[in-house]
């Protein structure tokens, strides 16, 4: 149970989610490269969620949630607010399950993301960030249509679904006879870390878990240090990592994480850019800035890797071509170029 009285998912809920998602979600590969192992002086395995449906891990949680809607809820459809990965994930899961979806997106969201959400069959309702509150708009739509709101991270079934990332890491590492010393996971609201930590801590209690956050959005790092949920004191600074802007650990995710996660590490935009270039050069994978935060933490030496095995989750790949071009253009990182 969480402090707010809602039940929390357990490892068993993650395993049930894995069974439920079979044939729907992609079992993404664990990638590796000699060049990366050499750079960290250890073994590095990367869980490649850009290869997940809709380009990020978010599909797992959204799909697990929607597959468990009752008949009445299905008829009413679903609503979500998001300008990014959760939007596309809910849209794709809704089409798969056969329920209507309304996604509330800011009018100034990237055209590619709006088009992507529509392509998955969702109705997109645009709002002005300046003059409209998306919560009020979403609540009104939910009430008018009898639709179910799908939250991005503070949801039992969403957390259990994201946990299938951890479950797959356990199985894939087991298949190659390896048990990681550490697992590093990007954190916004903390849903991916929460689900993943359930599966990892259940299988490997000795493995150290770390969140990775962008500079200025280190609410998990601060909260782990203080042992309680701490939010950002104001709007965060400019950052490439748009997917990780949640201002405070979730009410459901934090009680799970604080029991299992050793601590949070923080990376800056230069380190994130270097990680994206390393993924381009050595893994041939397109990773979005927020999705590269854990790899950035590893390559920047934020956690001990020498002689150890480390897993970093690459959580998504939905990056604007212009941003990707700009990141590739920085050649201030000679190590990544070789």
């Amino acid at each position: 149970m969480s402090r707010i009285g809602e039940p929390l998912p357990t490892p068993a809920d993650v395993y049930a989610a894995a069974a439920r998602l079979g044939g729907h979600a992609v079992e993404t590969p664990l990638l590796r490269a000699d060049a990366l192992d050499e750079r960290i002086g250890g073994r590095l395995l990367l869980k490649a969620e850009p290869l997940q449906r809709t380009g990020s891990f978010k599909f797992r949680g959204a799909c697990n949630r929607l597959l468990q809607l009752g008949a009445d809820a299905r008829a009413g459809g679903v609503v979500a607010y998001s300008s990014g990965n959760h939007a596309q994930a809910v849209a794709a899961a809704a089409r798969l399950v056969g329920v209507p979806a309304v996604i509330v997106m800011p009018r100034d969201a990237p055209a590619v993301k709006i088009a992507g959400t529509r392509r998955h069959g969702a109705e997109v309702v645009l709002y002005d960030r300046a003059s409209e509150a998306r919560e009020a708009l979403g609540t009104r739509i939910a009430e008018e249509r009898g639709a179910t709101l799908v939250k991005p991270y503070d949801d039992f079934h969403v957390i259990a679904g994201q946990g299938t990332v951890g479950h797959e890491i356990v199985r894939q590492c087991g298949a190659i006879g390896c048990r990681p010393d550490a697992v590093v996971v990007p954190a916004g609201g903390g849903g991916l870390m929460a689900g993943t930590s359930l599966a990892i801590a259940d299988a490997w209690p000795e493995t150290q878990l770390h969140t990775a956050e962008p500079k200025g959005y280190d609410d998990h790092a601060m909260s782990f240090e203080r042992g309680e949920r701490v939010g950002l004191s104001g709007p965060g600074p400019a950052s490439l990592c748009d997917a990780l802007f949640a201002p405070k650990p979730g009410a459901l995710t934090f009680p799970i994480n604080v029991e299992r996660v050793r601590g949070g590490v923080v990376v800056d935009d230069d380190e994130v850019g270097a990680a994206m270039r390393a993924a381009f050069l050595h893994l041939k994978l397109v990773v979005e800035p927020g999705g590269a935060a854990a790899l950035a933490a590893v390559l920047a030496g934020r956690i001990a890797t020498a002689g150890r095995t480390t897993v970093a989750v690459l959580s998504g790949g939905n990056v604007d071509p212009g941003v990707f071009r700009a990141v590739l253009n920085r050649d201030d990182d000679p190590a990544a170029a070789t």
Copy 2:
């Protein structure tokens, strides 16, 4: 037997290669995306060889070749000429097998590729394209050191190794209950198509096989039409697809391909760039120009895809960041942006 009297590999040699490469080569995933299926009005599966060790399928053939060197040959090491993917593949396979490797590369090869080849532990010998013949240089090195020359495509074991791409396609499609109507494969010297065609034609005799080549390098398309090996009449034009510049189908690869391949299709640089952007946007995969030729052929409508299942091989991802940036910068392809 080929016309030149050398034995040709059979499907059994491909299956033996698959067993030999287990644990060494990556079993690369078959990727898909709703957006691509919608564009072609059918089902499209992409074999993701950028995720192979050294970033291209070439590792399969090189590794299969080197694993079968006898004790004497191992002591003498191996020599290869290449400015690209074969260089890195032979270097990495040599390190794996534990034999010394000398790679003869042009002095003006991209610094990243030279550094990559050295990183895999090979000795790199640079030559001037203008004043030195690489064959003479390589032959001299082979004679001086008693080293074995590893050819890029006209080699029994290299062809069998590349065939594991086809063998995996058969197994992976079987696992999802699908039998492709067509398989499209980029062709330079034709080694990947030859090996792949052995496995595909053995499992699915009805499946249509096509090579994909860049404009001006359509020696396979011409040769299939005439039923005999035809080379380019002179130096080819400028093209992004540096990996596919071989001037004539191989003496060993062509007899295999002409028996099994329906024909060759040709793509231009704009179509290749559009395919690279589609892979970036919808698959989150970095694909080099030559590696995108088969996807380009499919997206450009060169073969019938409506209501059918098509597999295209993405053969490699070793692309210079500057080239990738330039390709992403072209927004003359509105369909790829949605």
